[in-house]
């Protein structure tokens, strides 16, 4: 187990190193550099005149005049050694300050969404497989198709509309106005939980549609196995039998795609966040892209990918633990 874990950890580090190169390249693509954009912004915002010498000074100050390879190592070195993700010019502060506790909000949304996804798709998938061919099964298939076809931002708008109509309140965002800038307290936490369900439903929507189908398909395969008939022939009660034999194995594909689900959720996050007005990393990422605030964008992209890679690692470990056939250490 130790060796298996270590190997996966090394693989994770290599992947993250390559990802950081890619993210850095994306940060470098927009024309001009930080100094240019800083100067332009200063100039267009306040009318303060910025000379070419000033721009050059900023450039030298931040080491932006060095070759690209060196700048990459400066950037990644600062992140790894000092946890410094660079400067966010839009807010004229460090990226770390801008991101702040949004990482935790994002993780909160992620975990709520994952929990919701599996809490719905696993039992429903099992049920659909057991009742294969029933009208409920067909209904679920239709729902799955729709779930995959409906763009999430549209779903977000529809849910917002009905929430407004039925509850009369604006349920967008992550906090009620009175808690928005308040320090953390139990009240604020409860307020957050009350707001979390909407983004979680929107983000879980397509994952649920997809995973119900996966669960149903693998469960159907497992139900046909001889081991299930054999267990039934030993007199194992039906309910216990379903959970202990086919379901226990059918869950493996779900576990092995946790990273994939996280990827999808993060992929949809910026757009859903824009519609629902969520103040977390996705929304910040979108804003940073629109402002070409590339240090912020790069940091967020790196963080999101890191979470995905980490979840992949967790899913590998879980799978190895769940399935004794996966030889540990091999």
């Amino acid at each position: 187990m130790l060796r298996f874990t270590l190997e996966r950890l090394v693989g994770m580090v290599i992947t993250m190193a390559l990802v950081s190169v890619m993210v850095f390249i994306i940060m470098e693509i927009p024309p001009g550099d930080y100094a240019d954009r800083y100067a332009f912004r200063k100039f267009s915002g306040t009318g303060v005149s910025v000379t070419e010498a000033d721009v050059q000074a900023i450039r030298e100050d931040l080491g932006l005049d060095k070759p690209m390879v060196l700048r990459y190592f400066d950037w990644i070195g600062n992140i790894v050694l000092r946890g410094d993700f660079g400067q966010a010019f839009a807010f004229e502060t460090s990226v770390v300050k801008v991101i702040g506790d949004k990482v935790w909000l994002t993780l909160g949304i992620l975990l709520t969404t994952l929990l919701l996804t599996y809490a719905i798709s696993v039992p429903v998938g099992i049920y659909a497989a057991v009742k294969r061919g029933s009208s409920l099964d067909y209904g679920l298939t239709v729902f799955s198709y729709l779930g995959l076809a409906l763009p999430n931002f549209l779903l977000a708008l529809i849910l917002l509309y009905f929430a407004n109509k039925w509850f009369g309140a604006d349920i967008g965002g992550l906090f009620s106005p009175q808690y928005q800038d308040a320090p953390w307290s139990l009240g604020k936490l409860w307020d957050l939980i009350k707001h979390l369900w909407l983004p979680a439903v929107v983000l879980a929507w397509s994952a649920v549609a997809y995973q119900i189908q996966t669960m149903r398909a693998t469960m159907s395969d497992e139900l046909n196995r001889l081991s299930v008939t054999a267990a039934r022939a030993r007199g194992v009660p039906e309910g216990k039998l379903l959970l202990k034999y086919p379901a226990r194995l059918a869950i493996n594909p779900i576990v092995s795609t946790i990273g994939f689900d996280v990827n999808r959720i993060f992929s949809e996050l910026p757009i859903v966040a824009a519609v629902l007005g969520l103040t977390e990393l996705g929304e910040l990422l979108l804003k940073a892209y629109l402002d070409l605030d590339m240090y912020v964008a790069g940091a967020i992209l790196l963080l999101l990918t890191f979470i995905i890679v980490f979840m992949n690692f967790v899913s590998d470990l879980l799978l190895a633990w769940l399935d004794p056939r996966i030889k540990l250490g091999a």
Partner: protein
């Protein structure tokens, strides 16, 4: 201890209703072994699945089907009337009738240890604690000839060899103490040497535990070694039955004769084996008249393809369904 009368099984399928088993009757006596022989598709496996009500949801039993079983405590159980999901059915499965399958790997769940699955069965049918169940399981593994059973019990199925898994499978089926064991081609997937060992083991276990057994196979050679009585099935009906020795020495039905010719033996070593020609028809295209007439070497035109032959009895449970052994005139009036 078990009698089956007029067992018919139908399936509702997309192409309509098919009835792969029609009017099968047989009985098993305590401590004896009945052999069921036939090609794949002859309905022998589903017939035994019906005894444990293990048929899939689209299957139904015929109206005049009667399956009666006398339990260990002497009670009479009408299996065809038991409600699915009932306590009685769960007690019957495993506790009264045990079952072992052809694929030992596929019949164990790969994610639990052998011990876990054995102890589950033991605790379901014998009132005992975990520790006691473990002791019974170890003893059972020992009985089926698995060395160092106390360690083997905590292994996963994929950590065992094929023959050992089959032994473990037998131990698993016997651990709940059934009075009747149904063995569905238990030796087909094994090497010939291991096959002989497993057959020996099953014979010994049967003698020691005083069990009855229904042994399903397509191999008359295996039947000769293990069964007291034999019933030959073709397309869902029993075409010939009798004491094993009689049937093998003096087969009456052309199908049985064909099966016997297909067994390799020292006498036929230099000749080509003669398999039964043709394929078994699909249950959706059941031939009229005698179901075997499409492949029969002694086919009588105008009789065999028109009327179904009745069962003609002899002495000592011997019977055959074939026009060669019955005057067609009386058969026609019976039909």
């Amino acid at each position: 201890m078990l009698t089956v009368e007029n067992l018919s099984i139908s399936f509702a399928t997309d192409e309509g209703r098919i009835t792969p088993v029609q009017g099968v009757s047989f009985s098993v006596e305590a401590g004896k072994t009945l052999g069921l022989v036939g090609e794949s598709g002859s309905g022998k496996s589903i017939s035994t699945k019906a005894l444990m009500r293990l048929l899939p949801g689209n299957a139904s039993l015929g109206d005049d089907t009667k399956i009666t079983y006398w339990a260990k405590d002497g009670k009479e159980i009408e299996i065809h009337k038991i409600k699915p999901k009932s306590r009685a059915l769960r007690d019957l499965r495993g506790g009264e009738i045990g079952m072992i399958f052809q694929e030992p790997m596929a019949s164990f769940s790969p994610v639990y240890t052998i011990g876990n699955q054995m102890m589950e069965a033991i605790r379901l049918h014998r009132k005992c604690g975990k520790r006691e169940a473990r002791e019974i399981a170890v003893e059972m593994l020992n009985k089926v000839g698995i060395s160092s059973p106390a360690e083997r019990i905590d292994q996963y199925p994929h950590e065992m060899s094929g023959g050992m898994r089959q032994r473990a499978m037998i131990a698993l089926a016997l651990s709940a103490g059934p009075a009747l064991l149904i063995a569905d081609e238990p030796t087909t997937a094994l090497d010939v040497t291991i096959q002989a060992q497993v057959l020996d083991l099953m014979r010994d276990l049967q003698r020691d535990l005083g069990m009855a057994m229904i042994f399903i196979t397509h191999d008359l050679g295996v039947i000769a070694q293990i069964a007291d009585e034999v019933a030959v099935m073709y397309l869902g009906t029993i075409v010939e039955r009798g004491a094993t020795r009689d049937v093998i020495r003096n087969p009456k039905h052309p199908y049985t004769q064909g099966l016997l010719k297909a067994i390799p033996s020292l006498d036929t070593l230099h000749d080509r084996l003669s398999p039964v020609p043709g394929d078994i028809p699909s249950p959706t295209e059941r031939p009229t008249g005698c179901p075997f007439h499409t492949r029969c070497p002694d086919f009588i035109n105008g009789i065999c393809d028109v009327n179904e032959p009745p069962e003609v009895g002899g002495d000592a449970g011997r019977s055959v369904r074939c026009w060669l052994h019955k005057e067609p005139e009386s058969g026609r009036s019976a039909a």
